[in-house]
Amino acid sequence: MLKSLDVENLRNKALQALDSRVRAITAGLGLNELRAVMRGDPATEKPNPRYKVHTTSFLFHIRPRYYERGSTIFAHTFRLGFFTAFLFAVELVTGLILMIYYSPTPSEAYQSILELESNVPFGLMMRDMHRLAAEGMVIFTFLHMLRTFLTGSYKKERSFTWFTGVILLGITLFLSFFGYLLPWDQLAYWAVTIGTSMADAAPLVGNELNLLLRGAPDIGAGGLLRAYLLHVILLPLAAILVISIHYYKVSREHGISLPASMEEGDVPPEVKKNARQRIDYIPDLLTHEVFLTALGIFILVASIAIFGYSAPLEHIANSQQTPLDTKAPWYFWWLQGMLKLGDKTLMGVIIPTLIVGLLIAVPYIDRNPYRSLFKRPVAVGIGLLTVITLLVLSYMGTPVYRIETPAATRILQDLAPEEGEGPLRSVPYDQLQPGVYEVGAEIPRDLCPNLDFGCPDLARIFAEYSRRVVRAATDLGLEDIERLPDAQAVMLIEDWQQDLKKITMRIVWNDPQSGDQKVYERLIFLHRERGME
């Protein structure tokens, strides 16, 4: 028996057996081939197994065999499309995990978020990451579109790809919008209330559309469930479908566009030839994509764990209390800005629909055959103008612009906002020395001489309070709504309970128009262990 044992042969047999296992997993790449891939050597077999993979493996089949060298130049694409897809994948993974802990009912939703953040290891990070990647996805989708527009890559055979891209921009915005409601806090509730109220303004079907979205005249259990199902089922499925079409066009049909200069520019033929050189998917593109994925995950994790990005969570949604300074998520500020300019139906429904229509029609309106920036000044001009308009509108959408809040409300809201931290709440608990602090012409230098280390932060807040009240009381150049004639203002700090202080901020003034005495007061309770945001 020993005689028949051929050691050499055995080793080969074992290697062969291993090799065939590996080939089964890698869809045709043997051990030697894998080694060559890693070393950057040329293919070891014929036909080239690195190409064969694309027909035998599903995952590789949907990827391109090669890109042209010119289209892989970093400054041409900035990998914006890749990162959009990457962030979408992050959303899918983190979203699936978050679904385990979330229950979409008004009585449970907020509690389940608190539970997630206080009782699930890495729960907070999952939520932060889901939110960060969502915001990132909006940014990258937009930048990707802008890049495509500026490089003229939507023309000719790519016009349908552009169309699917516009649809994807819409899906991304709707995904963010409905996801925004799910934490069921004040921020979410009121932003989405404003958003869905725009549906109400749609002509003819507005009321029905609004009912369909909210499930009732106001957002409640029905609205939350609908937002949830849209967010976790319908829109992701739609996104996956359209992304597949969008990507298939790029990878299997027309590829990524070449830089305009290399395609149509006045460059030597060898540059053009060089630009068309094929870069194989395996190993170059694959390695690059894996590297970018590692980079993307690192940036997400570092933003949260090191740079402290954190998804906001305000007080639980309260339909009875409209917060001051209601604000849409930043990527809808432009829309909020437009709403301030005119009628809800026109600004909130008709113009946005027109914008979408225009975006889709861009490849068909623009008949200029050239792609270079310099040969299409009108298109580039319109593009830049649009970006500037969006920025200006976004600014106008913030509460800073044209929202008139009465002076007393404004001052107290700035010092101790209804939601979030604000300067007053960030004063260390031990500096909150009980007492009555009346605003006078003189700002006391030392507010609490009895405390060992004084109360510099409290004194700073009080000085700010005094300064603003005195200015509103004495500056006659202000508008009526900003004035507080004959103002008396007080800040009252009381020990209220164990580890709990009550701060009363009260402003009394004579209304400049009617002359009646008005009072505005805000109570703030601060607990020692409340923590900083």
């Binding site: 206080s118 890495f122 690192f298 764990a305 007080h315 164990q498 262990e529 923590g531």
Partner: protein, 280 residues
């Protein structure tokens, strides 16, 4: 080094870095979650304090001291040590508070000491029973109330009236009042727990904008919008105490308990009125 090799090395480095960050983050999770729960509790108390201030202080006093002979105090030692046994409650203190606030009380458990506001003795607050508050808000109020435990003082049971009550008829003849005794009643019997609206002290004192309650009482019942029965300043003040719903000055809410006529003697009422009329 080719580009592929560079990317593989850098990629491995990034994966290791990410792994390190996640490991450190993971080690901190335990304490972070504990701190988070603590902060959540603290914020719950803050929210509860605000809700209590809006909804509960009218009867139970701004600091939970209650109103003698009307509503029980919530911040005394007895409440935290004996109350569960007294009512035979088998659950936790928090359950007891949440349950009471949610469903209110149809009748008082101590009708001789704290009859409450009439019928029901305490209204239901949960929206499940027709009240205005959500479950989480009631839990926040409970967190605030339970936070009194560590500082709860010992308290005497409230005194019962020393004589026959004055009743609600404002035309009754009152004995002569003593303003000094009235002042001490006003400041010790819980009036100030609600009537503190000005920066100079109790609401009946004169301020820069308004004269004292004495002067106000002289003109109020002659105003055209006055809806009560009083014909003199004395009657107006008595009416405000024993039948506070008869006329509510505009800008205020009808929140004053209506049973002072049953718990206050004629002498006490006369003393209070004498004190108030002295404030011009």
């Amino acid at each position: 080094m080719t580009r592929v090799q560079l990317e593989i090395s850098l990629g491995i480095l990034l994966v290791l870095l990410t792994g390190t960050i996640l490991t450190v983050y993971g080690f901190n999770e335990e304490s972070r979650m504990a701190r988070y729960s603590e902060e959540q509790q603290a914020r719950s108390i803050e929210v509860g304090a605000e809700l209590y201030d809006i909804n509960c202080k009218g009867c139970h006093g701004p600091q939970g001291e209650g109103i003698p002979l009307v509503c029980p105090p919530l911040n005394d030692r007895n409440f935290f040590t004996n109350r569960l046994e007294e009512v035979g409650w088998s659950g936790s203190m928090e359950d007891y508070v949440v349950s009471t606030v949610s469903g209110g009380r149809l009748v008082s458990t101590r009708p001789d000491q704290y009859p409450g506001q009439g019928k029901p003795a305490m209204p239901a607050w949960s929206d499940a029973y027709g009240g205005p508050l959500r479950e989480d808000q009631i839990r926040a109020i409970a967190a605030f109330i339970l936070n009194w435990e560590s500082t709860a003082p010992e308290r005497q049971a409230a005194a019962t009236p020393t004589g026959p009550p004055v009743g609600t008829d404002i035309a009754v003849r009152l004995p002569g009042g003593d303003a000094r005794r009235g002042e001490s009643l006003a400041t010790t019997q819980g009036c100030v727990s609600c009537h503190v609206a000005t920066s100079v002290g109790p609401a009946w004192m004169p301020t820069a904008q308004e004269p004292g309650i004495g002067t106000r009482a002289e003109t109020r019942f002659t105003q055209p919008d006055y809806t009560g029965q009083a014909a003199t300043p004395e009657q107006y003040l008595l009416e405000s105490i024993v039948n506070p719903g008869a006329f509510v000055v505009s800008g205020f809410q009808p929140v004053m308990p209506g049973n002072y006529g049953q718990v206050m003697t004629a002498q006490e009422a006369a003393d209070l009125i004498a004190y108030m009329l002295s404030l011009k």
